[in-house]
Amino acid sequence: MSLYEKLGGEAAVTAAVDIFYRKVLADDRISHYFDSVDMDGQAVKQKAFLTMVFGGPNNYTGKDMREGHKHLKGLNDTHVDAVIELLGETLKELGVGDDDIAQIAGIANSVRDDVLNR
């Protein structure tokens, strides 16, 4: 069974999006990057991101990730760290075990260079 299936598949992602996105919007370190975005569109993107890091079916391309972040001024490692931290808190709230959280954080971390366009 894949990690995605073990976590509960699409229903788990849907539950995680709400918790994760709410944390992102409430976090002063990164919330300003989300002030002017369309929330519905953003939720769809977050769902795709979480599906990917959960190991679910996805069509991730580093190019999309690069395009989607390159206009964000001042974006650096601390912002990526914050996102991974909030992702971990989200998973903890959902009752995901530490080992699985570490694995998911690892996948999220693997797109760091794409997000930061380097």
């Binding site: 929330m39 769809v44 079916p57």
Partner: protein
């Protein structure tokens, strides 16, 4: 072998090839992106035929009710007649009634041979290039006519034309109704919070009446905001509804000069102060983009699920009069 009917064409589908791929192979340009059922770029509509469950996985109830499905996840088991949603088809609608709800809000009632869910919107066309979208306040069967609330702007090309040159009995051109702002019975267990500014009341009036008509038992709270009391409308009708249904509450809000039975202040503040925990609520927001966007964020941060918030930001008057 199932057959696909798309526009005037008939295509063979083997069941192990997705509708999206079948259409692409036949040379049709259908937007698509992730091909994993996540991005929803390849949304199509099934006009006839069975939709496999997988093809609607992850779609909202309102999308399912409109028979929308994901082309990349659809492996047909029966013949299907499909179309691209929001096709620019238009129909004729006859103007039954034009009256004023306030000094500058018109009520149009139209007779058109189309179906819709109260709260969806249509586009009304002056000519081939000039159209404006308006939400629908009425029910196709219970009311039998399509009701639109249209704010008149001094320089509004469409609203001025309507006010000055269109008369009862005229045939107008409208697009097929669309949009996901409407009530579904899957919300019957949820309390509803509806908030609007100005003519954002049109879709919400439709949603409220539809919910009550479908026997919604949980609380329904409607906030309608305007600058001053004379800009509020349907006040009498909503008060009557409030007397008839004990679970429905109507809260008129004015920026200034509120009368005794109204609240005075900022809609966003009033709602965020009053509804500290919106977990489990279904929320409908319509009207000025600024208020809708602020409320969408507030309601989400205060517990409503993203998928339970319908936010319909109307174009600004400036964009509308352009």
């Amino acid at each position: 072998m199932a057959k696909l009917f798309y526009n005037a064409d008939q295509l063979d589908s083997t069941g192990d090839v997705s509708v999206l791929d079948t259409l692409h192979s036949a040379g049709f340009l259908i937007p698509s992106s992730c091909r994993a059922g996540l991005c929803h770029a390849c949304l199509l509509r099934a006009d006839e035929g069975d939709i496999p469950a997988l093809a609607q996985k992850g779609l909202s109830e309102t999308e399912k009710r409109q028979r929308l499905f994901l082309g990349c996840q659809c492996f047909p088991v029966t013949d299907m007649k499909i179309s691209t949603p929001d096709a620019s088809r238009t129909v004729q609608a006859r103007l039954l009634e034009l009256s004023m709800l306030t000094q500058d809000v018109m009520r149009l009632r139209l007779k058109a041979d189309v179906d819709w869910f109260p709260g969806q919107y249509t586009t009304l066309w002056k000519d081939a290039s000039l159209g404006r979208s308006y939400s629908i306040a009425s029910h196709p069967v219970r009311d039998g006519f399509m009701e639109l609330h249209i704010k008149r702007y001094p320089d509004g090309m469409l609203s001025r034309w309507l006010a000055e040159q269109v008369h009862v009995g005229h045939e107008l051109e409208i697009s097929l109704p669309r949009g996901s702002c409407f009530y579904t019975e899957t919300s019957s267990h949820q309390p509803l919070l509806l908030a609007c500014t100005g003519t954002g009341l049109a879709p919400l009036y439709g949603v409220v009446q539809d919910a009550l008509g479908q026997g919604h038992q949980r609380p329904i709270h409607l906030f309608a905001a305007a600058g001053t009391p004379d800009q509020l409308y349907l006040v009498h009708e909503l008060r009557l509804l409030e007397q008839t249904y004990s679970n429905f509450h109507y809260y008129p809000v004015c920026r200034r000069n509120a009368q005794p039975n109204m609240q005075e202040g900022d809609l966003v503040e009033l709602i965020s102060n009053r509804y500290k925990d919106l977990k489990g609520w279904k929320v409908f927001l319509c009207g000025s983009p600024m208020a809708v966007k602020k409320l969408q964020k507030k309601c989400f941060l205060q517990g409503a699920s993203m998928s339970d918030i319908h936010a319909d930001a109307f174009e600004s008057p400036l964009a509308r009069s352009a």
